[in-house]
């Protein structure tokens, strides 16, 4: 940005000079985005290789490749295709869904704290699941259904109450935060009432884990995430204009309420589907976009980069949770916050120093 203003304000610059400068900045930003995406993909591959080859029965990396190409023996096929690949795919797709959803929330509502974790959608899903486990004594796939219903119900309530002559960011955020607190205190209350073992099982669900996502649920999530990404790719073109604020966006001819509504709806569906199978993996939707925006650093919403950081963060957290501590596997939702938050803090501290200099 600095280059542009320099060139534009220097006396005697022609339009061509400015155009060149803008082009240079654009090229630099594009290089930076590609670099971020490529290094993220490389990191994800490394994590995936670790996850697929280590464990109770280790498979050497070359055998992993052979098995993936269809040349493994029976045990290898069982280990790779039935036990480990689903978990990796689940981490990648659920993480991508959370990252993208958080990025949309934050960009559309223009508040860096506006993520489904904080706006009550995840809390609603947790409440649905905790109520199913503790209140109704259910277990298994039904709990996912309740979680989905809980998340969508909270989103619907936010929608219905925040809608007044259109969907305004600040209303959506305020109502969402309020509902998140109601949900959280209800969860705390349910946990305090219940029998202690059951309460602990419910607590585990609210942390989030990808270890049991397989079969139909996995396929559902993968399809949902792909569709969601496509929809976002179509509708996200207006985001830079929307980021200028409603007044400018409207005066540039955008139907802000429609655009915001569609994008938020996709984001809510992404988070609801992801949460229903894996639980509300804590803070991925908050942290991943914040990291992505600082990696890309071109002032945009960094949607593609958020998909990448969400997937890498979740997959890396799952790998760490499985293998970092001997004798103890931590569910992925515990590790995401523990590694994501310090990284975000470090990025924040570093940008502060840079802006001061």
């Amino acid at each position: 940005m600095a280059i542009v203003t320099d060139a534009a304000t220097r006396p005697g610059t022609s339009v061509d000079d400015v155009r060149l400068a803008v082009g240079a900045v654009r090229r630099r930003n594009r290089r930076r985005l590609l670099l971020a995406l490529a290094s993220g993909a490389a990191l994800a591959l490394v994590f995936a290789m670790i996850a697929i080859s280590s464990g109770a029965a280790s498979v050497a990396p070359d055998r992993v490749v052979a098995t993936l190409l269809g040349q493994g023996d029976r045990t290898e096929q069982l280990v790779v295709f039935t036990l480990r690949l689903p978990r990796i795919l689940a981490a990648v797709f659920v993480g991508a869904a959370f990252g993208l959803s958080g990025a949309i929330f934050q960009a559309v509502l223009r508040n860096p704290l506006a993520s489904p974790d904080i706006l009550g959608v995840s809390t609603g899903a947790s409440l649905g699941a905790v109520w199913a486990i503790l209140g109704l004594g259910l277990g298994g796939a039904v709990v996912s259904g309740f979680a989905l219903a809980g998340g969508l119900a909270v989103a619907a309530i936010i929608w219905a109450t925040a809608w007044r002559q259109g969907l305004h960011g600040i209303r959506f955020v305020l109502v969402g935060v309020g509902l998140a607190y109601v949900g959280a205190s209800l969860i705390a209350w349910l946990l305090a009432r219940a029998e202690i073992r059951q309460a602990q099982a419910a607590l585990l669900w609210t942390v989030g884990s990808v270890s049991d996502v397989r079969g139909d649920a996995l396929v559902l999530v993968m399809i949902g995430v792909v569709i969601g990404c496509l929809l976002v790719a179509v509708f996200s073109r207006g985001l830079p204009v929307l980021a200028l604020g409603d007044d400018h966006a409207i005066s540039l001819g955008m139907r802000t309420h429609v655009r915001r509504g569609i994008l938020l709806l996709v984001a809510v569906l992404l988070i609801a589907v992801g949460t229903s199978v894996a639980g509300p993996i804590a803070f991925v939707a908050l942290i991943a976009p914040a990291i992505a925006r600082r990696l890309v650093d071109d002032g945009s919403a960094a949607l593609a980069a958020s998909v990448m950081t969400g997937a890498v963060l979740t997959l890396g957290a799952d790998v760490l949770g499985q293998f970092a501590l001997p004798q103890f596997t931590a569910p992925v939702g515990i590790v995401t916050g523990l590694i994501g938050a310090p990284y975000l803090l470090w990025l924040l501290a570093r940008t502060e120093r840079k802006s001061r200099a």
Partner: protein, 384 residues
């Protein structure tokens, strides 16, 4: 024919939107110290005249609001003393207050159960109301509250650790740990996030994101700790005696003084860091002082009542709605509304379930949500 009508259709919302943009300027014009922003105020006079009624609020109305809040507080304190699972005649309650008789069972209930929880509710409510106002003023983020800035998470982690490692088992024993945890979290948040308000809010969220899984990690592995912690985490005014209040009230007093001294500085801060700087204010000093006040207020509130949701978020918004955008009026209003809301939650929790009680934390959330939704739906919601 369609041409002109389309133009006017587009014109109308655009004018309204300009009013929306300028509206903060008009509120700034109401701040005496910022009277230098004459162009903005003049523009506001031209454009925002239909909206002014809701924005400019005179001293008379503010005083009336404060009087009404004081009355409400007195009423709710009386209700908190009178209502309960055991029905006691209001006359007997009055006798117990003025001339307690140790042999009278009713008097004992009043003094040992109802007076302590009323006092705790008063103190915690005052602290939460003021803390929420401070935090929203400093971060200029309408969703900032003690929970989001990581203070509650810090206090909770400290309580969990003191149960799990030191075997502390009474709410009295948690106090200093909760206080220390909140202070440590605030120190981290304010030292990393001191730059911009946005960064402060983000750092707070990141610290919460770091601490919450740590708590879950301990709770998932240690059933006994979870069993104790879950009752603290709901948030309640019971089980604490007057001795706790006697120990902690000075912190709230100091925090309240800090909040009131900072009120006018928050007015300037609301105009943005640059404007506040150019008007001669030391923004960094304001933030530091606000941080100290916050730790005192939030730490005490969490020690007294556990992590209580929504009071710190709703009260400042409600106060802003009642008395306008001047923090010198918002502060006293929040001071009164905080205990009104918390004690109301406690009283309702006593009455709503026959022969049992619902914790104040749960009721406060249910009480706060409709208020917050109503505020969010109102026309001039931004106000920050």
């Amino acid at each position: 024919m369609s041409g002109p009508s389309t133009v006017s259709d587009q014109e109308a919302p655009r004018v309204a939107d300009t009013a929306l943009v300028v509206a903060p300027g008009s509120s700034a014009g109401a701040v005496p110290a910022a009277a230098g922003t004459a162009p903005a105020a003049a523009a506001a006079d031209v454009v925002a005249s239909p909206r002014r009624r809701g924005r400019r609020i005179g001293t008379g109305r503010a005083i009336a609001v404060l009087a009404a809040c004081t009355l409400a507080l007195l009423a709710i304190v009386a209700a908190s003393l009178v209502f309960g699972v055991r029905s006691i005649d209001p006359g007997v309650v009055w006798q117990a207050i003025v001339g307690p008789d140790p042999a009278n069972a009713d008097h004992n209930v009043v003094w040992q159960l109802r007076v302590p929880r009323t006092v705790i509710g008063l103190l915690a409510g005052v602290a939460l109301g003021l803390a929420g106002t401070l935090i929203q003023g400093v971060t200029r983020n309408p969703i900032a509250d003690p929970g989001l800035l990581g203070l509650n998470a810090g206090a909770s982690l400290a309580v969990v650790l003191c149960i799990a490692m030191l075997g502390v088992s009474s709410p009295l024993g948690y106090i200093w740990f909760a206080f220390g945890g909140a202070a440590a979290a605030a120190a981290i948040v304010f030292s990393i996030g001191r730059g911009q308000p946005v960064r402060l809010a983000l750092v707070g969220a990141a610290v919460t994101a770091f601490i919450t899984p740590l708590i879950a990690l301990v709770l998932l592995r240690d059933t006994e700790t979870f069993n104790q912690y879950r009752f603290w985490a709901v948030g309640s005014l019971t089980g604490r005696g007057l001795d706790v209040a006697a120990l902690l009230w000075p912190f709230i007093l100091v925090g309240a003084i800090v909040a009131f001294v900072l009120a006018n500085r928050l007015n300037l801060l609301a105009l943005g860091d640059d404007v506040a700087n150019s008007l001669g204010q030391r923004v960094g000093t304001t933030r530091l002082a606000a941080g100290i006040g916050l730790v005192l207020l939030c730490g005490t509130a969490t020690s007294l009542a556990g992590p209580i949701a929504l009071v710190g978020l709703v009260v400042p918004h409600a106060a802003r709605r009642l008395v306008g955008t001047d923090y010198r009026w918002i502060m006293p209003t929040a001071l009164l509304l905080g205990p009104v809301m918390l004690l109301a939650a406690d009283v309702i929790g006593r009455l709503i379930v026959p022969n049992a009680e619902l914790e104040a934390g749960v009721v406060a959330a249910f009480l706060g949500a409709p208020v917050l939704i109503a505020i969010a739906r109102s026309r001039n919601v931004a106000g920050l």
